[in-house]
Each structure stands twice: as C-alpha cells, then as structure tokens.
C-alpha cells in the first residue's frame, strides 16, 4: 500500500493510516501499551473516522492492531491523570471517545472489517461491535475486565455488549470479567471467521479489496444502502 496519505487525513503518531485503491487501513499503533487507547490515539481515531466519512472515493475500511495485540482497551490512566495534561484536553479526549464510539463508527458509509489478534478488551469492543465483518486469529482474547477493578462497562460499552453478544454472553462477560477465546467469540456470534494468525491482516485487506472493487469505482457504491439495512 502507498505510504502517502491524501487529504483530508492528518498525519498520526499512534495510528498507522494507509489509503490506497479505495481501502483505508487503520492500524492501532501503540504496541508498547498493547495498543491501549489513550488521549492521543482517541483524538486521532476521531479525526481519522471523520475524514473517512468525508472521503468520497473510500470503499472499505480495515481496523487492526500493530504488534501482538488488537487493543487492551481504554488507557484509563491517561484519561484521568491530570498531572500530565490540562483538564480541557482531557475533557476533549473524553468527548472525542464518545463521538467515535457512539456516533462516527456507526455512520460510516463504508463496510468495516476488523482483524483481531491478541487482546481485545473493554473499551476496544465498540471497534469490533461496529465492524461489519470480524476476522479473529486463534490467539485472540476477548474480555470485559472492568469488574475486576471495581468498575463497570459504562453506558456505551454496555450497549455495545448487548448489541455484539447474545444476552447470556453479555451478562457473563461483564459480570465475571473472565476472558474468552476466539472459538467462544465465534460461537457467540461476535466473530465472523477465524483466520490463521500470520495471514490475519492480509486476509482482511484482501477482503476489503474485493469489497472495494476498484474496477467499479466509478459506479455509485451499493454499501450505504446495504449497511443501513444491516446495521439497524
């Protein structure tokens, strides 16, 4: 894929963005923190998804994690630690988080493919829940660990859970905090297909390319209509 990023995308420090042949690949890129979503990444995610929504030539989106994990969830420390950032920035980061997980992801006119390997925990769930197709590697570990430290999957995460999992599975995951593997995620319907680890990202990109159909780029995309039907 080409490295050059056309406007309206902004350069990012914690997202690896690649845009070519009608496909946008969004790599969560903070491997030292298992791609935990902190203040910078959440602001970048908001701006990347805003740009994607305005990108008329964009036909498919892939979201994946760089390094060993998809994402360990929200970096709580980042969001509540006032010692390093001023209150205005933290407030803006919290608003950006709600914006991408409650609104932007749900209104994307393009199909979204999530490729999950390693940890996919807590606040990472909306990224998977909103995806139209979810590929997972056998080593994927899903879970809602909030309860393990006396916290709750808050309003929007609980809503994501109820949408992504059957009722029994949602209660079990949220109340016990026990992680579950790719096989269980497949049985519960969270995952569309299990893909061998080495080929995970490539398979997601191949699927995205097939959906993007660059040869038909001049035709109006059929996806906004299909997605509106499927996502409601």
């Amino acid at each position: 894929m080409s490295a050059a990023l056309p406007p309206p995308y902004a350069a990012c420090g914690q997202l690896a963005l690649e845009r070519s042949d009608g496909v946008l690949a969004i790599g969560l890129d903070r491997p030292a923190k298992r791609n935990a979503i902190g203040v910078e990444m959440t602001l970048e995610l908001e701006s990347a998804l805003l740009a994607a929504g305005r990108d008329a030539g964009l036909r498919a989106i892939v979201i994946y994690g760089r390094g060993g994990h998809f994402s360990a969830g929200m970096d709580m420390k980042d969001f509540f630690d006032h010692s390093e950032r001023d209150a205005g920035l933290l407030r803006r980061a919290r608003a950006a988080t709600d914006n991408w997980r409650a609104r932007l992801l749900r209104r994307l006119p393009q199909p979204v493919i999530a490729a999950v390997g390693g940890y996919c925990l807590g606040g990472a769930l909306p990224l998977v829940e909103c995806a139209d197709v979810v590929l997972a590697a056998p080593d994927a570990v899903f879970g809602m660990p909030e309860i393990n430290f006396g916290f709750v999957p808050g309003g929007p995460i609980a809503k994501s859970l109820r949408r992504a999992l059957p009722a029994r599975a949602a209660s079990y995951a949220a109340l016990t905090g026990r992680p579950f593997d790719a096989g269980q995620a497949l049985r519960w319907g969270l995952v569309s297909r299990i893909v061998e680890r080495g080929g995970l990202r490539d398979e997601a990109l191949r699927l995205a390319a097939r959906l993007a159909r660059p040869e038909a780029a001049a035709d109006p995309s059929p996806f906004p209509f299909l997605l509106e039907q499927a996502r409601t």
């Binding site: 925990l121 660990p145 393990n148 430290f149 916290f151 309003g155 949220a174 579950f180 269980q184």
Partner: protein, 283 residues
Amino acid sequence: MADSGQAGKIPQDLRFVKTGLDEGVLTVELNRPAKRNAMSVELTWEMVRLLEAVALNDAVRVVVLCGAGDGFCAGMDIKDFFDATERDEATLRAAREAANHWRVRLLRNLPQPTIAMVHGFCFGGAFGIVEACDIAFAADDTKFALSEINFGHFPAGPVAKAISQTMTARSASYYALSGRTFDGPQAEATGFITRAFAAAELREQTYQLARELAQKDPVALEFTKQSLQHVQAMSWDAALDYNAAKFAELKSRQSGPGSRAASVASFLAGRTRPGLGTAKAGK
C-alpha cells in the same frame, strides 16, 4: 444499601425454600421435592418474602438458585393456583400475580448477581426463573421443555418473554410449538443458558464462579447489571448521558476505604495493574 437491619433479615421459617449463606454466597433451594419443586401458592409467597429481604441484605454478595432432589423445577403447580375450593378468587388472583412478581421483578432486580444452577429437569414456568438470573449453568443431562403445548396450554406469564429475550428466534418457536425436550448443550446453543457442564462438575463450577463474584465490588456488579438491562432501549446519546450520571453515582458510592477511589489511587501510583485478573484465557 444502608444497614441491612430487620428488613434485610433472611427469613428462617420457610417451609418450601431452603437457604444457606456461606462466605457471601446465598444458596436458595426450591424445596418441594415430592412435587418436583413445582411452584405452589405457599412457595410463591415464601419467595416473595425471601427476595425482598435479600435485596436489602449487604452480607449477601451472590445468589445461587437451585432445586432440591432430582431436578430444578417442574414449573407452576397450576392446580394450586386455580383451586377455588381451598382459597377464594381474590386470594388466588393475588397469588398468581405474586408468582409473576418474584420472577419478573424481585429476582431480576436483585442488586446481587444471580446464578441459576439447573439439574435434572426444568419445565414451563421454571424458564421464567432461569431467565431472570444473570447467569445460568446447567448439567448436560438436564431435560428442558416448554411442555405447555402438550396439554393444550401456551407459555404463559413471563415465559414467552423469557425465551424471546434469551433464545434465538428459531429455537424459541421450535421448542414452544413442539414441546420437545432438549438437553444442556442444546440449551446453551439456543442461548437460554450460559453454559452446560457434565453433571458431576455442575456444583463445583457454579460455586467456584459464585465465590469469584463474591470477591468483586458489589456496587460495580449492581451497576453492570443495571446497565445491561437498561441501555438496550436507550439511544446512543441517552446511553452516554446515563453513563455519565452512573459514573458519578459509582464514585460517590465507592468512596470509603477499599473503594474504587483507593484502587484508582493505587493504580495511578503504579501499585496495581488492572486487566485480566487471575482468570485464565479460555471460556
């Protein structure tokens, strides 16, 4: 929850329900084995009294609901609820309402997490009990059946809603229309229960989980239950607003020692690392 006080005292005079509290885990055993634990009028009023107390009892951290003898529960003792020779109409009507009330509201709205431990059999009205529990474990060889149709009846009271809340649409129609029995693994596949285990493992798996839950923050558990119950009907923006309000409430209810405030401080100081807890990857 303030002081449990008299209102939270677990009644000790129950004849058809057996209770036992051990390290925060309250076992509630439907205890009418000669009648396959079918819910009678008396059992119904006992459950109402018991659950009203449990909701106010801080010593109870987790509830395990099970059946004495050969099975979980054979459903409603219909005859008892309609037998006008024993009780007058108004009394019977009140009893029928109470039978819905404890399953649909009292059990569902307990602040503590609830686990149904199902063995042997689970028929008809018993589906309304299992559904109202947050987690349902069952033995592989349990016989489940929505048998109402086999005697010219239909899944009444809370049962139709119970199955449509948890089962896939196809399973709910199939089992409610056919009245056919299904076993633990099939019940898990329909979504009605959380997991099925070999019969010999059921008790250990249930109590292991119950003890694990008893160690978790009770306010966070209560709020998790509430969120999962309420957010589905909210718009995304309403859910965000609800979240913000619950967040503030959580902080205010967790302000004592050993509270969330203390854990966050400890986390920010690098003394603890929240994450996967002690549980291992897997199911």
